[in-house]
Assembly symmetry: C2
Homo-oligomer: 417 residues x 2
């Protein structure tokens, strides 16, 4: 008998009507003979309502008590879904994170899962029950309630799937899968039937926010097959997997972008050991997130360093960098806060050297100037002026042939799942 | 160092403003050097909101899942109060019923407390922390969340006080104590400084709903001194105690009443063994609450039986009694649904035979006909037509001299506490 973990997010359980719809979906899987563990988030808006209550009392409320407070959100939804399943004649039982139990460290509000004692869940499953588990929460070794941080329900689902050695972990969300790129920019964007964990991580880090990065990492580490699919419509979704079949693997899988970027360049920095840490140390201390870093080849004993920051942090980063430049006797600091980042991602590019060349020539043909380039084994990121963003993404999507396949191929893809 | 359990009900924690007010009150007790355990109900309205959600899904939802659902109400308030205390510089920790832990049987929605493992709470108290405990909830031996039923937070507080051998259990509510009778009927009604557990139980069973009967029984059983006081204004409240000082004890302590009563009489019942159970068995099976039962002296081999029921259950009870009368060949069934019940309660009446006589003569002087009489060691209950209710209560209150004492006496009473 197949064991599956299904996870439904906040909008999927946002109302009694939606909870009933989830119950129908779970009931259908149950009737197919699947053993099911269902992980739920709080009803959408509920966590924010609770946080607002806490803020009224103390905006600096202790994270231990915040966890006691916000963990009630999922507890409400698990009870309601268990009721909705029971109403449909399905035996169901709800469990909080503490009951399962999901053991975490004691870092309140961003705890990490250490262990899951799934014996109780297994016993219920053996008796034909559907087990409904509160996502996002656990307990530490002293029995204190902890939460995993925003989006932690995905992580709970993957961890439950790992602990139970489930065949699959299905993440139901408000999109029907992972796309080659954002369909709002490229209407021809295609849902991917499969994507590798590595690719998914690269796409997620570039702003494709279908899944929490942490849950994908977890799935990768414990080799849990992860499927993203829509809770609003039927469909196979996208399978995030470990097995790479080179035969089928396309050159690149998707294009991610991030619009709100900025770049800063410090010029005429002494080209000597320790300089990089003198620059990036203070930036890190100020909790500024640095992304792409490019160092030019040194000339005359000095070099230039360029990096990108989130646009919202640009003024602060620039001010700090000017101070650092003074200390290092650097020549100047220049910046630009109209940057957009575009990344093409694909495990297929490992074995194809022509990907970068094709990317650059495609953009050149559109007259788009590339301001930064950074590459990794399965990703090429570039920075361009943000006014070119849509044009660039569309051109690349077409150049790499990512658009919707012919009907026959799509049907075959669907049959796979 | 004095250890005290304080309990605040739903209206006392009904808003952030009210929770802050409770924090001020708790902080004051803490500053006086008391070690404090605070037991809380859900914010008023919250439990009903949750029940309404469940009803939308399934009005017959399982009680196990109802308990998972509604127990979130107290979990929210304990976190918020802990935050409010921490904001005031007081170390505080919240615990759910399961965390404390409060072990109950597995009768969901009306579980009974079996044991409390207060080791964790004691450790916190020793470290100077205020411990905030969710009322109304516990866990069974398998770790399932249970609730104690409506008003169960009072019981949690008393049970915590018993487990910790607290000096006192203070129940903060929206009235400032137990009164000689309902001040809405008798403006001269006086707050009692003390009352015995037995008296409190008799008053509570007669509709004086200051405390849940169960928590008073619990306090009696474990000899926990219980004090009822207002969370809205300062004052000594009423101490519910075990020590009876005959010297001070007044003849009667209070007058309770219940307006919504009805009586039913079955006439000409064969006066033989087993008849009472043939009458009351079916009534009990139909979950009808029978209160006073009076059997007349038999004449000619038959007797009459009269009993009272809640007015809302009168039609159903009458219909059933007519059927029973047919089976027993009883003469007739008569009823009256305009009954009110009045009870005078006092441990002092044990040693004074004249109480009943005084009660009856007082009512006679007002021209009030007594329709039923039932007595116990510390209580005399009567039934009268409900139109006489206020007149009867006022007359009895005056006859037994229960009105506000002179100022000196009151001050002395207050000093006691």
């Amino acid at each position: 008998m197949v064991l599956v973990v299904e996870k439904y997010g906040g909008t999927s359980v946002g109302s009694v009507e939606r909870i009933n719809a989830v119950a129908e979906r779970v009931a259908a899987s149950h009737q197919k003979g699947e053993r099911l563990v269902v992980v739920l988030s709080a009803m959408s808006g509920e966590t924010n309502r609770l946080i607002a209550l806490a803020n009224e009392i103390d905006p600096q409320a202790s994270s231990r008590e915040m966890d006691v407070l916000v963990s009630t959100g999922e507890q409400v939804t698990i009870a309601l879904l268990a009721m909705a399943l029971q109403k449909r004649g399905i035996e169901a039982r709800s469990y909080t994170g503490g009951q399962v139990q999901i053991l975490t460290d004691s870092v309140h509000s961003k705890a990490r899962i250490l262990d899951i004692d799934a014996a109780r869940v297994r016993k219920d499953l053996e008796q034909g029950r559907v087990v409904v588990v509160a996502g996002f929460q656990g307990v530490d070794k002293d029995g204190n309630i902890t939460t995993l941080g925003r989006g932690g329900s995905d992580t709970t689902a993957v961890a439950m799937a790992a602990a139970l050695q489930a065949e699959e972990c299905r993440i139901f969300t408000d999109v029907d899968g992972v796309y080659t790129t954002d369909p709002r920019i490229v209407p021809e964007a295609r849902r991917l039937d499969r994507i590798t964990v590595e690719e998914m991580l690269e796409l997620a880090s570039q702003g494709a926010k279908v899944l929490q990065t942490r849950s994908v990492e977890f799935a990768g580490k414990y080799r849990v097959p992860l499927r993203v699919l829509s809770s609003f419509e039927d469909g196979p979704g996208t399978l995030i997997t470990h097995e790479v079949s080179d035969m089928e693997q396309p050159l690149i899988s998707g294009i991610a972008y991030n619009r709100d970027e900025a770049k800063l360049t410090i010029r005429g920095v002494p080209d000597q050991p320790g300089v990089a840490s003198q620059i990036f140390g203070p930036l890190s201390d100020a909790h500024l997130n640095i992304d792409m870093i490019i160092q030019n080849v040194a000339q005359d004993g000095t070099t230039d360093l360029t990096f990108t920051v989130n646009r919202g942090e640009y003024p602060q980063a620039k001010k700090l960098l000017v101070e650092i430049a003074g200390q290092l006797n650097a020549r100047e600091v220049v910046g630009d806060d109209t940057l957009a980042k575009i990344a093409i991602v694909g495990v297929g590019m490992r074995s194809h050297s022509g990907v970068a060349a094709k990317m650059f020539s495609t953009l050149a043909a559109e007259g788009i100037n590339i301001e930064l380039i950074s590459t990794s084994e399965i990703k090429i990121s570039i920075g361009v002026n943000d006014k070119y963003l849509e044009l660039a993404v569309r051109a690349l999507h077409k150049a790499f042939d990512l658009q919707e396949k012919a009907t026959e191929e799509r049907l075959e893809g669907a049959k796979d799942d």
